[in-house]
Symmetry: C2
Subunit: 393 residues, 2 copies
């Protein structure tokens, strides 16, 4: 039996095959029964895909009702035609709902620099509105997939003074993944009633603590987008940053986004294991992050982890060329709680214990620079020949 | 018959197996009959191997006679014992020559964090002095190899007012290669008579135009070293920065180092082709370099090139997330002279022509940001499954 995805109250969804990709679902639709508060974060890449530019306008104006997305084509680097196509895609969906185009978010993911096949998009939108239902969540998640091996969804329910509130997340992404977003799309739906600026603040902070902590290959794409719709259908008391339910809502939102982020890094192209890189004792938080990223993005480290080899010298090397200040004779490194390096030198732990530590399904590399109070954490994956196979093809 | 390497006048060399690696040559020696002027450039990594720290002292004092090196062990992250071992290695070689230890450069390359096997090093130094001869250049180049598939040597001879002057280079390196050096060692020998500061200036500028232009995997190692010895045995008039032969000497030095750098990038771990990334029209030279590096180090680009796919979208993506200022609708990209992108969009060249352009043994990606006068060039290689195989093992 097919897994189902419980959507928050007042949301419906669909995922169908519009023929953009061969034989696979390639378009998704999410609709709220009523206008929802919106928040969104986008790629920091200077080259932004047309749908990202469109969505920047949508999120600036009040409320939205729908998200329409396609995979197989990124609608990036298509100039004025790309912008016209993104707007037309929104207008087609808006027409079906009888709302203004600016009430519809548009997302595209796939190949860069090919015109969007608007005939297929138009046909797909017809099919989506035929199929849309409260049970369509899993179909939508499937249609979001590109090189993903699994669809990625999370639903959590919380109780706010007797009112059940649900937060549901759908995401895609596996290559071009790096802190500050990637070819990554995530839609967060909730029936919570929440004030717009509170929602925006929550989404931005939660994104920094989830999607912006993961890295697969250090590439940031042109299309990364996280959109949140909050339609208020749960009937809870309006959440603001000073209300008592703010904390629980934020923590739940963060959990949903963190879980989605971990699903993405676990499904990294060719990856088999998740590795957590924690840096403490840096001169500043920013330097801790630079050091953690250098380690997490080093091909020499990622291939060593694929081979289940401790190879802490490659970690020393990476922090040494990072922008973080490092004093060789102060550095301590542990794999989980197994000492690998003390004061910049081998800690003396027998090789077989180090090998065992890095052979686990998941493990944490704890790096203490012993210089100050800055700390940071980044989640990454190992790097196998399969990544090359996937990206050569 | 074995290829021979003509050394400059007054130099001899040897390469032998000391048992640090299994059955392969793993130690090399280069000796000048007389004290030579010295110049050197080292890794910018904050974590420097012990031999690098030793060599910094050698190059600061006047003159040197020898270089002794081992592969199979980097003598990095070994603390005080590492420094003592590097100095002992210099002292052992110096003892054989009856000179002070500070007249001997020491280089090590290989695994980080394992103590140098000093018994094998001592035995190896005995064997090296038994073997050293003017014909030993190729043996020395072989002993420098780690994951290199081929040894890397260049010899060029120039005529300075009737005096033949020779510049000979020996290098190793294939992984951990990125502008600003890598697990890369290069020894440049010349019988030219040249003033010390002139030599230092020439070496630094030539390194910026050769070894610092290549990138294999974006990693910079703890041991990168380029050492130049100039023993004056050619009998030419002393070269200074104001002398008439300065320009020819510098150009020849640069050619030797550039040829060695190209050999290294061509022998990049798992690589099969050399790709030149040229950026023009950047807001500054530094920004041009940032953009070129982002493209050259992007795994998505390197795997696309391995698959002989144009995939210019991945180039747009990489310049977009680089630190260089980019305006999407001004970017032009050509593969050699085949237009791929005009004003940020597909140039309209048929796909098969683009595929043909990136299928060549070597090709240049010309990126014009059309913003200013900054330009830069970086040389890189494609990325295949073999890199992963090599580094997993």
């Amino acid at each position: 039996m097919k897994k189902s995805l419980p959507l928050p109250k007042g949301f419906s969804a669909a995922g169908i095959s519009a023929g953009i990709k061969k034989k696979k679902k390639d378009m998704a639709l999410i609709v709220s029964d009523v206008s929802a508060e919106t928040a969104a974060v986008f790629t920091t890449n200077q080259i932004k895909a047309s749908p990202v530019k469109w969505d920047l306008k949508v999120v600036e104006h009040d409320g939205a009702r729908a998200i329409v997305m396609n995979s197989g084509n990124a609608n990036a680097c298509n100039g004025e035609q790309g912008m016209a196509d993104a707007e037309a895609m929104a207008a087609l969906a808006a027409g079906k709902l009888g709302i203004p185009p600016l009430d519809v978010f548009v997302c595209s993911t796939g190949t860069i620099g090919k015109p969007l096949p608007m005939d297929k998009i138009a046909g797909g939108i017809e099919l989506l509105f035929d199929a849309v239902s409260p049970d369509g969540g899993m179909d939508a998640a499937e249609a979001m997939m590109t090189t993903d091996l699994v669809s990625k969804t999370v639903t959590v329910e919380i109780d706010l003074d007797g009112k059940p509130v649900r937060i549901t997340g759908l995401a895609k992404g596996s290559g071009m993944i790096e802190p500050n977003m990637a070819t990554m799309l995530a839609f967060i739906l909730t029936d919570a009633a929440i004030e717009k600026h509170t929602l925006q603040c929550a989404l931005r902070v939660a994104a920094d603590m989830s999607f912006n902590r993961i890295t697969v290959d250090g590439d940031r794409s042109t299309n990364d987008t996280v959109i949140c719709l909050a339609n208020g259908q749960a009937g809870n008391e309006l959440i603001t940053q000073s209300s008592k339910h703010w904390k629980l809502f934020f923590q739940t939102l963060e959990k949903v986004m963190f879980d989605l982020a971990m699903m993405i890094v676990k499904d990294g192209e060719g990856a088999t294991r998740v590795i957590t890189v924690k840096v403490t004792g840096a001169a500043s938080g920013g330097e801790a992050e630079e050091a953690a990223r250098a380690v997490a993005n080093s091909m020499l480290n990622k291939t060593a982890w694929a081979g289940k080899r401790p190879n802490w010298g490659r970690i020393m090397d990476a922090i040494g060329y990072s922008y973080a200040q490092v004093q060789e004779n102060k550095v301590d490194i542990d794999y989980d709680d197994v000492p690998a390096v003390r004061k910049g030198m081998a800690a003396g732990t027998p090789e077989e214990e180090l090998v065992a530590a890095v052979s686990k399904e998941a493990f944490t590399i704890n790096i203490n620079l012993n210089l100050g109070g800055g700390s940071s954490v980044v989640y990454t994956c190992n790097f196998t020949e399969d990544y090359v196979r996937i990206n050569v093809e």
